[in-house]
Symmetry: C2
Subunit: 336 residues, 2 copies
């Protein structure tokens, strides 16, 4: 797309949106400028209004304003493969010279020979083996460095941009808008907590202490110089997915969210748990229905499955399904 | 003590302290009024000055200002027995009518017959049995209610006051002073996370999301009406003590503290981990040496053991040992 041509149009659209829904007092522009007018945007605006209106019946005091966001497919791209798995496969390739045995050992062999068919068929046990060799045996600081280095150079196969640019602009605006209204924004991801923490602050403005993810064990000890270390072990402590999400929220936060955002069957229980609280609650699911600007997938996808049962539950319970195609003016900041 | 007589003297002391150490700009009085002048108070004042001085070499940006506090024996009384164990024993008595078999079954029998000698000899396995029957089988909300009800009526055997009043006034001032300087104050306790969360906000101003404790599993499910529930299970997930403390800090916070406060061997690794960071770091241990106003115990105590090895490590590493007798003007608010 030609950005020079599009910019004035996008400015015009923003201006029209402002006139239509009205900007919050004191704001210089529409905080949700990348959202098209419609039930999704309206639900967000109404939720924030109701929970921050001191005189209203649905007022929520600032310290209780907790919101939780799934990460993969909700805040950033998860196709053709979860970013963390992309990282792990690149790490297998980088570590291969130290492991000549991998040349003949699955699942490593499949990665090293770029056998897409075999990779597509990886079992959970295969993934566990890959995660074990790439996500353990180093200190937490060393792992952070490895992940940051990877993000600095890795590029997404389709968009040919750093993964850190493949965040959804409307969701970034939503995070910011909620924080501007004294909501705490938490990430509650099936991905690894350590992995997501490395970039959550710089790309989402979410500090490490507000990231709950799948937990692997760490072991406190001392290095050769006697300095204390926390070393990552190849053992899971807690799986933060499906029923694990409300359990993980209880662990990290100890309060029930007032709003929860997801995109797949892994988020169903988090949304149920959120809705079961009293007062105003907002439950939203991002639906990937825009093959042109991003991807279109749902019930048949292994990654980010949006099952028919989830769609039925969303309709029954009044959860808002966000259509990327219809509700989002743009998907990525670079598409402006 | 006669409070009317003492009040003018305490005011005079506060005034003298103000003249001696100088109040922070804009403060109406000494924020650490219950601390006697000396190396402990001086270390706190200097730490806060150095880390908040924008022009100084030890400046710490607000988002990184993390501090961690042990709870039992550091923020409140842990003698003659941990408050949570007191709670559990009272719960055994309350639940006994539903469990006639406990009359002849140890460790329950010992509690029901108030057999102090047997209670004093309880093993970890005994404690685990007691915790299992008193801390699981209910929803997290039901447990919160049970704990709050208990705190409303239970009294400490020596001080004959609610346990929530047995917090150390100098430490409350320290928590407040740190928060006034944009430090986040976390509790990192060997006690149960759910238990401590019920009262941490009201007595310490520490919200649930800033309490890390020993974790037991919870299970997401649905009640008879189909409403989602989180039910507490009788299984430990993570023991937040000794090496578990830096591991638990990594789990809940994901950042290294700049200051850490403890009182026993269970806190040693947390202080080591804190000190191993660069820049200004503050490590302090409360030493219980005041039998008159509170308790005097150390290496020989089963509860809150302050071993000779810990004292040696404190001296070697330059950790500040707080003498309750020498450093604290008063211990409890009611002793004013």
């Amino acid at each position: 797309m030609n950005m020079t041509t599009l910019k004035p149009i996008s400015t015009l659209i923003s201006t029209l949106a402002l006139l239509t829904i009205g900007a919050p007092q004191g704001s210089a522009g529409d905080p949700l400028a990348s959202w098209n007018d419609g039930p999704a945007k309206q639900a967000i605006v109404e939720f924030v209004r109701a929970t921050t209106d001191k005189a209203g019946p649905k007022y929520v005091p600032p310290e209780k304003r907790i919101t939780t966001f799934d990460n993969d497919g909700t805040l950033w791209v998860e196709q053709p493969m979860y970013t963390q798995v992309m990282f792990a496969m690149d790490r297998v390739a980088a570590l291969a010279p130290e492991h000549p045995e991998w040349k003949t050992q699955d699942p490593f062999k499949a990665i090293l020979t770029r056998d897409r068919e075999a990779i597509a068929k990886f079992s959970l046990a295969d993934l566990a083996k890959i995660l074990a060799v790439t996500h353990s045996g180093m200190t937490v600081e060393a792992f952070e460095g490895i992940v940051k280095d990877w993000f600095a150079t890795a590029r997404h196969p389709r968009f040919e941009r750093p993964y850190t640019e493949l965040t959804y602009q409307p969701m970034l605006e939503l995070l910011k808008h909620l924080r501007a209204n004294d909501f705490k924004t938490y990430i509650v991801t099936g991905g690894g907590q350590d992995f997501v923490r490395t970039i959550a602050e710089s790309i989402y403005g979410v500090p490490p202490e507000q990231v709950m993810g799948t937990l692997t064990k760490v072991k406190y000890g001392y290095d050769k110089s006697g300095n204390p270390t926390l070393v990552k072990l190849p053992e899971a402590l807690f799986i933060n997915d499906k029923t694990g999400k409300p359990e993980g929220i209880n662990l990290l936060i100890g309060r029930r969210p007032y709003a929860a955002f997801g995109n797949s069957t892994g988020d169903q229980q988090m949304l149920e748990w959120t809705q079961a609280g009293d007062g105003a609650r907002l439950m939203m699911l991002v639906h990937h229905d825009d093959a042109e600007r991003e991807y279109a997938y749902g019930a048949d996808s292994k990654i980010g499955t949006f099952s028919d049962a989830l769609m039925t539950e969303a309709k029954t319970r009044g959860w808002i399904v966000i259509s990327m195609k219809r509700d989002w003016k743009r998907i990525f900041a670079f598409q402006e």
